[in-house]
Subunit: 458 residues, 2 copies
């Protein structure tokens, strides 16, 4: 036991290391179902899903033909969305239907919402009527809302029950959800009134009223609330589970923290990828899928790069006579782009975590302007000296320094203002800010540097 426990805790290696993947693939290749089971033994469905994501298409096909494990449903719901359709189409229909019958309704919703109609119908047909009704009702809510995330099975109690009545009810009830953390008190119209944690209930006497045990923090969520707001509420208020209500304030489901954690991870992922101009990405995407995602962003960047070149072309005269300018001009643009990216990343994050609000906006804008100015002056001095020393011209050094100050100030301001304006326009600041900010810093950088140079050198 002791050794096992010690081994279990070494999470970096045990679960799905490359050696284990290699062995699994070898068993698949030789068609040895017994060895395959042996190597899969102890792997969590999430690990098997990771395995499917890491191997290539033909290996995946061979694996699914050979594997007879009974956690297909869980593996599907852990799988990257981009791969689900492929894997579902590889599964025997009967096996698929048996698999989804084991899932909670919220997992079924998550599974079918992106499937094509034929696959969706096949899965819905496999469900019992009551589950099918729950899934279809959830699918009636808009994508990425609380209604889609929620689990329909909620453990509720009338507000006048005692701990003893509740425990007796739970013991007699065969059909409880797999995981639940609260009992939700409701009025006769099913409006939720409060949550009682199981821990407090277990440590109270049987005669205690449930309503005397309710938690202080109680935040019912409307079914049409966005997933982003749900994740925010769980994170901000340390919720474990919280009731979902309809327009009439009546209970329609419950969201638990594992769902909120997934939304939170997805939001972060989306932010980070969008900031880099990658819409959506997975390690299992093939070449053309990847090109399709990345090419549009590069095309946008090409447009802005051409814009910058047009600015440069206005100064062909001065470039032709002082070639040092062509050598130095990328420095001004590059420093501006980097300073702008710093400011905008901080702003995009602060908007996402709601740390940047109307209350501190002015102060933050002033700060970014000052930071840009301070950094600008610091690098103006450095680059002024370098420019002077390199090309033996104090004038070039001075022009370089002045352009640096202008561009870093503009970088700071555009880095904060562009995401804020996009947010006000209800656009995702993570998606478009980067392109706008570097366009501004490129154009301003080249214009300031070459424009000043034209004034003093020609």
């Amino acid at each position: 036991m002791l050794d096992e426990a010690a081994e279990d805790t070494d999470m970096t290696d045990t679960h799905l290391d490359p050696r284990r993947v290699g062995r699994i693939l070898a068993a698949v290749e030789t068609g040895d179902a017994g060895r395959l089971e042996e190597f899969l033994d102890g792997l969590h469905p999430a690990d098997i899903a990771d395995l499917l994501e890491q191997i290539d298409e033909s290996e995946r096909e061979a694996f699914l033909r050979l594997w007879a494990g009974d956690s297909v449903g869980e593996v599907l719901s852990e799988l990257d969305e981009g791969l689900r359709e492929d894997v579902i189409s590889l599964l025997d229909p009967e096996r698929l239907q048996a698999a989804v019958r084991d899932l909670d309704t919220d997992d079924v919703v998550d599974l079918v919402e992106d499937l094509e109609d034929v696959q969706k119908e096949a899965i819905l047909d496999a469900l019992e009527d009551v589950d099918r009704y729950a899934v279809e009702q959830a699918l009636g809510y808009p994508e990425d809302t609380a209604g889609r995330l929620m689990q329909r099975d909620v453990v509720t109690a009338p507000e006048d029950w005692t701990v003893g009545q509740m425990i007796d009810f739970l013991r007699d009830n065969e059909d409880l959800p797999d995981q639940f953390y609260h009992v939700t008190l409701v009025d006769p119209r099913m409006v939720p009134l409060g949550n009682v944690t199981l821990g407090r209930m277990l440590s109270a006497r049987r005669s205690v009223m449930l309503r005397d045990l309710t938690e202080e923090t109680f935040i019912p969520i409307h079914a049409t609330e966005s997933g982003e707001n749900v994740a925010y509420a769980f994170n901000q208020y340390h919720l474990i589970s919280t009731p979902v209500v309809d327009d009439g304030g009546r209970l329609v489901g419950v969201i638990t923290i594992d769902d909120a954690m997934i939304v939170l991870s997805d939001e972060h992922e989306e932010d980070i990828l969008r900031l880099a101009g990658v819409g959506d990405a997975s390690m299992s995407d093939n070449v053309m899928e990847t090109v399709r995602v990345r090419l549009p962003w590069l095309a946008v960047n090409l447009g802005t790069a051409i814009l910058a070149s047009v600015v440069i072309s206005q100064f062909e005269n001065v470039l032709a006579s002082v070639v040092a300018l062509a050598v130095l001009m990328p420095i001004v643009a590059s420093m501006g782009g980097n300073a702008g990216t710093q400011a905008l990343t901080v702003a995009v994050r602060a908007l996402a975590t709601r740390d940047l609000t109307g209350s501190n906006m002015l102060r933050v804008v002033r700060r970014e302007a000052l930071v840009g100015l301070v950094n600008g002056v610091a690098f103006a001095v450095v680059m002024g000296v370098i420019g002077w020393a390199w090309f033996g011209s104090a004038v070039i050094g001075a022009v370089l320094g002045a352009a640096m100050i202008i561009n870093l100030l503009v970088a700071g301001l555009s880095g904060i203002l562009i995401p804020v304006v996009l947010e006000r326009l209800k656009l995702d600041p993570a998606l478009a800010s980067g392109t706008f900010v570097t366009t501004v810093t490129d154009v301003v950088g080249f214009f300031a540097f070459l424009g000043l140079a034209t004034q003093v050198l020609l």
Copy 2:
């Protein structure tokens, strides 16, 4: 009730909107403690912490002088680390000590670990002996490990207990943790054997053995395991709470999902900021703190920008004779930089989420090379035509196209290989990849474009 519930669910506005902040600040300015309490009413400690982060230093001071609320401890533990020292030093010592006595030991650990010794001692002195011992033991583990995150109070049971025995024990125990979700079964040496969820326990008869109710997924974590691995395990295996063990495999504490969620958020935050060359950032940082964080990264970028300029300066001859090259060369560098950033962001994320492993490395590298090549050819055609049309020279168009292919191929390869190599060297790929990748794409871009131009145009 109905209206209240409906209002509660509108999470975007109710809790801490700018208008409420304005009213709170007005009450603080006029020194009206009654109005202040009124406007703070219903705010969660996390919201009050957000408020403190959003207002400026003098407002913070005035607020803390006026505010007499009793959730100081919770507010402190919700507060941004950078602000805690400031706020603690503004609090009356007795109030501070009363506040920390109300906190769970894991929150006290989180609170004191970054404080200076004097403040730390003051807080430790306020604790009861048993809590102080727990906090000091946790502080004995390295920073950012499971030992620091864990709560000492664990609800345990001998493995031969029944549900009935456990419920009686819980009812008789005055000193249970605020929140607990499992009972952990232990052997006589305190080695954890399994977790029983409270839900399963509540729905079982009193005579059922606890060991017949244990959960399938049971992953004890070693106290020295990194916070990153803890967050990974919670996310991957949907844990709610899990025991922490020492070298002997014995139970020393428990980590709950709210702690893991915070670590996960922090890791994401760190990744996104590091990718942008911002080490650490908070909206409440002042100008000089912000400059201190950002200037070093800009200095590194300056170094790489100068390197690119040195490359350009090798081609002064061709630049002086064909000024069109100076106009077009930033396009090649910019496209390379963007394509490289796309590839590296996907790689950094996949390394962080463990989706990029030895098993799929070769396939992903090949994919990135092919994606770079496909995008390179696509944009080579577009830019070749544009370059030709703009400057009336097919040769310039051809040189531009060829340089584009070379640079996008290099961008894809360096975008995947640089983060992977940094990870192998145990460096954080998020921290340094961006600089390396854009240096490579700048240098290769300028060298390829101007070098080819020298060959064919001079």
